[in-house]
């Protein structure tokens, strides 16, 4: 381990260090409000390291710096996710201030655990070795389990336990898949797996052999848990409902982003040769996730559960991009699929965060997560309601919103990859989802409120909400800058 390795790891390390600092600080200071401010300000350090790494990359011949015994890759792809996770984290911390102030103790741990988990997510996007992937995954998941149980009431505890158990189970499945892959290739390095498979695959069998096929399926299952894809979505509604709402927001966007980062890296780099097989697998999972997520969401009366199923549906939309590989092999190589996933992840992040931030503020006032308690919010909290409505419209995919551009981009990729049927399933699902998203808007604007009390909102959650809301509009009207960055980020997957 050299000093350069440390430099490559600096964003992750500084985030984790920040977590420790926050926890220590919590013991010595009395005014807990400072903790959030320090967390957000402290994120400038990993951000600065990431920017510096990004600039240094332009000097590298193949756009990648490898370190830490070939397990860590710093490239535009991993840095893209570092920026995304830091951004999400900053917004979620800002929005947590009021929510957390009601928790009597362990406020430092709340922010600290979030930071630890973030360092795991950032690491996850940068690892190129199966063992390191596993470690990063656990680093991501364990703090989240603790956070899910943070409220200490029965719902929250159930959420924590459920997340922990199912996370452990999915890790076990994932490890088994990794073991099989290792057994067939003799290496845990993603790039080397690609080379070994290239020489030994038998064209007549899926993935070259049935056992390897099983291994890959198990890895899909393991990752499927992280991104909340059907049929690995069982934990989602209960955990989303029971967790503290800011954690639900964090879980729904950051955890998902990290999951897709590692899926793209593993499948595009290690199993690129077998893309036709797993692309079909992802296409089917995608269609099932979209459909089931949407249909079940219709029946929900709790907004957190509704958004939980909506997140399952959006995992389906995102997998459209993963499946859209357009046969990496001979003709018409396209980066549209993966870059579409990256764009959609950002679009989904701003959209879902905006929605959750508005929900946090409203629920703080009404003390309820039921959709019916949003009655008359158009009058009680005009700005909040407008942003929440806009976020829901973005989730539904109507212009001019980030969600529309994301779907346009992603479905374009699928169409280019001859997945017209999947595009049709996707757009029809979007139309179906109108029903439950608009149900919330209807309640906010067309049902009389019980009282006319205004909904208060603190300074920093308000800023976080405005940033996210503005993000939806900007990405919906001027998506090009982000598309360019996403294109640049995924270039590494196609070397």
């Amino acid at each position: 381990m050299t000093l350069h390795d440390l430099y490559l790891l600096s964003p992750e390390m500084s985030v984790a260090a920040l977590g420790i600092v926050i926890i220590l600080l919590d013991m010595v200071i009395g005014r807990k409000g400072i903790l959030a401010a320090v967390s957000v300000a402290g994120l400038a350090v990993p951000l600065a390291f990431s920017v510096s790494l990004w600039q240094e990359l332009s000097g590298e011949p193949n756009g990648q710096m490898v370190g830490l015994f070939n397990t860590l890759a710093v490239d535009h792809f991993s840095l893209f996710f570092k920026f995304l996770v830091i951004g999400i984290l900053a917004l979620v911390v800002m929005s947590s201030v009021e929510y957390v102030s009601r928790i009597k103790q362990f406020q430092g741990e709340y922010y600290g655990l979030m930071l630890f988990s973030a360092s795991g997510m950032m690491l996850l996007a940068a690892t190129t070795d199966l063992i390191a992937i596993y470690i990063a995954l656990e680093l991501t998941a364990l703090p989240l389990a603790a956070l899910a149980a943070f409220l200490g009431n029965s719902r929250s505890t159930e959420a924590g336990i459920k997340f922990l158990l199912l996370s452990a189970m999915s890790s076990a499945v994932l490890l088994y898949g990794m073991t099989l892959t290792y057994g067939f290739t003799g290496t845990t390095q993603l790039a080397e797996i690609f080379e070994r498979l290239g020489t030994s695959s038998d064209a007549t069998m899926p993935f070259g052999s049935n056992a390897l096929f099983l291994g890959v399926i198990m890895m899909v299952a393991g990752f499927g848990f992280k991104i909340a894809a059907v049929p690995f979505q069982m934990w989602v509604p209960d955990v989303y409902e029971g967790s503290p709402t800011p954690i639900t927001a964090y879980l729904s966007v950051a955890s998902k982003a990290a999951g897709f980062a590692i899926i793209l890296r593993v499948f595009y780099i290690a199993f690129g040769e077998l893309s036709l097989d797993w692309a079909t697998l992802f296409a089917i999972l995608s269609a099932v996730s979209m459909t089931i997520g949407n249909l079940v969401a219709i029946a929900q009366s709790n907004i957190k559960r509704m958004l939980a199923y909506s997140t399952v549906a959006h995992a389906g939309f995102l997998m459209v991009g993963v499946a859209a590989i357009a046969a990496k092999v001979p003709v018409g190589e396209t980066t549209l699929g993966p870059s579409g996933v990256l764009f959609y992840l950002v679009a989904y992040a701003v959209t879902n965060l905006a929605a959750f931030f508005a929900i946090i503020a409203i629920s703080n006032r009404t003390g309820s997560d039921m959709i019916s308690s949003f009655a008359g919010m158009g009058r009680r909290a005009p700005v909040l309601a407008v942003i929440l409505a806009f976020a829901l419209i973005s989730l539904l995919g109507i212009p001019p919103s980030a969600g529309f551009m994301g779907k346009l981009y992603m479905f374009s990729a699928a169409m280019k990859s001859d997945l017209a049927w999947l595009v049709l399933v996707g757009v029809v699902n979007s139309a179906i989802s109108a029903y439950y998203y608009l149900k919330v808007i209807r309640v906010m604007y067309m049902v009389e409120p019980e009282n006319d009390e205004k909904v208060p909102m603190g300074y920093s959650p308000r800023i976080a909400l405005y940033i996210a809301g503005l993000g939806i509009l900007v990405l919906g009207v001027f998506p090009s800058p982000l598309i360019n960055v996403a294109e640049k980020a995924v270039a590494i997957l196609f070397l």
């Binding site: 169409m415 595009v423 049709l424 209807r442 090009s480």
Partner: protein, 499 residues
């Protein structure tokens, strides 16, 4: 110029949202915006009408910003030709009428006028977009204002109707979206002008017939034709007056416009191949719509069903694109386009008047009414004019467009057209019967205190009656423009005509 026309109402809406508070101010502001908008669209129309240097197939007043989304070659591309410019004018016309028709809205005035103006931006955008994605953006954008306008300011089962409208359109546009992407990845452009000359006969990644069917479905939902028309009567019945005016007047035209420019324009050979399907659907719509209309007892629902019948004529005109004896006549298509314009003005006026009658008499139930001509002579006369135009009386615009449709279609689909012509008789029946039951006969004592139209209410009436009469007496003021805009489509149809 076009950007200004498209975004002026949106800018007006933003001002309402952020700056204006007082209901009276908001009304005046919205009226001012829409009057300026009407003036702008009129200027655009006049410029287009009087320009003589134009070549066939050229777009006018083009505005392009190429680097909107270069990764997918999506451009901000606006332009008009003879097909779209009258529809832009129609939107300006009805947009203004809608504001005047909303003068009495008391509930949540601010939001109401904001959405009304946003709606106008969206619809105008659809007519002037030359980039397919931009077209789709405006097409979808129109859903939100409509949803809110119907479900907040509507009546009856307003929320159900709004949702039904939304889901129908979204499902239709889902198919359009697939079609758009399939075209892009086959031909490599979203430019609608280029697509017109490139799509037919190109190597497509999904069969041309399927894409044609997808696009046709999306526009058929909007037009609407049987059997995807069921959202229309509900939406119309429950919508507030101004929204009915916009819905019947311009929103349905988006369907017809898309059908001509996109479905037929991009797939001339498929359009000819499946023209018989179009003709059959059209005649079913025409007859079914007419027959069902006769049975209606709700004044507004009656007009709504008559819309289905009248939109069937549009589709019938489009179905005439099959060449006879090696030549494709432009008469049928011109008739279809004319029918869109005239139906916009006539039915817009009818909905306006129904709204007025309802506001004063507090009922739309036809059996409860009678003799209203005595109390509201101005409204009765206007209603009479609109009704007669609707049934196609010579001298009104309705006559011209229906005549053109039948003239164009008869040589191609003789029997089918003959059946459709029969609907004229039914139309005359239900219109005259309705007029008689509502306005004539003995005047009822409970209506004695009703007033006539006020000045504000009379403004849109006069404007629309003028439009109906002018087009009726001097049809070529519009039809020449349409004909010229349809020329490139006729030419491409001519090229693929089967002997």
């Amino acid at each position: 110029m076009l950007s200004a026309i498209v975004f002026l109402p949106l800018a007006g809406a933003m001002v309402i949202l952020l700056l204006l508070k007082d209901a009276r101010q908001i009304r005046l502001w919205a009226a001012a915006i829409t009057i300026v908008e009407l003036a702008l669209t009129l200027v655009a129309f006049v410029i287009f009408r009087t320009a003589d240097y134009r070549r066939v197939g050229d777009m006018e007043m083009v505005e392009v910003y190429r680097d909107w989304i270069p990764a997918l070659n999506i451009q901000y591309h606006l332009g008009v030709d003879g097909l779209s410019v009258p529809l832009v004018l129609l939107t300006g016309l009805l947009g203004m009428c809608a504001v005047f028709a909303s003068w009495h809205v008391q509930v949540r005035v601010k939001e109401y006028f904001m959405w009304l103006l946003v709606l106008q931006t969206a619809v105008t955008g659809v007519f002037v977009s030359l980039d397919f994605v931009l077209f789709f953006v405006f097409w979808e954008l129109e859903l939100l204002p409509m949803y809110f306008l119907i479900s907040i300011w509507g009546s009856g089962r307003k929320e159900y109707s709004a949702m039904k409208f939304l889901i129908f359109t979204l499902l239709g546009s889902a198919f359009m979206f697939v079609g758009i992407l399939a075209l892009y990845f086959s031909v490599g452009t979203f430019n609608m002008v280029e697509l017109q000359s490139m799509s037919d006969g190109a190597q497509l990644i999904i069969p041309a017939g399927t894409i044609f069917a997808f696009l046709f479905t999306a526009f058929a939902v909007k037009l609407p034709v049987w059997p995807v028309h069921t959202w229309l009567p509900d939406a119309h019945t429950d919508a507030p007056t101004a929204v009915s005016v916009m819905l019947a007047g311009v929103l349905l035209k988006m369907g017809g416009y898309g059908m001509i420019r996109v479905a037929v324009g991009m797939f001339p050979s498929k359009a000819q191949e499946y023209a018989w399907v179009l003709a059959v659907i059209a005649v079913i719509s025409v007859l079914y719509g007419a027959v069902v209309t006769v049975r209606q007892t709700d004044l507004k629902r009656l007009i709504a069903f008559s819309s289905i019948s009248h939109m069937g004529y549009v589709l019938l005109g489009i179905a005439s694109v099959v060449g006879m004896g090696g030549a494709v006549s432009s008469v049928g298509l011109t008739g279809a386009a004319m029918q869109m314009f005239t139906h916009g003005t006539i039915t817009g006026l009818l909905f306006l008047l129904v709204g007025l009658v309802y506001e004063k008499a507090h009922t739309r139930h036809i059996p409860d009414m009678g003799g209203l001509a005595a109390q509201m002579p101005i409204i009765a006369v206007a209603f009479l004019v609109a009704g007669l135009a609707s049934l196609g009386l010579p001298g009104t615009s309705g006559f011209v467009s229906e005549l053109l449709v039948f003239l164009g279609t008869f040589p191609v689909w003789g029997w089918i057209t003959a059946l459709a012509v029969f609907a004229i008789v039914i139309t005359a029946g239900y219109i005259l019967w309705m007029l008689q039951r509502v306005f004539f006969g003995p005047s009822l004592p409970r209506f004695t205190n009703l007033g006539d139209a006020t000045v504000v209410e009379a403004v849109p009436m006069v404007v629309l009656i003028v439009a109906i009469m002018v087009v009726g007496i001097y049809p070529s003021i519009i039809s020449d423009v349409f004909k010229q805009g349809l020329e490139p489509i006729i030419q491409s149809l001519q090229q693929v005509v089967r002997p």
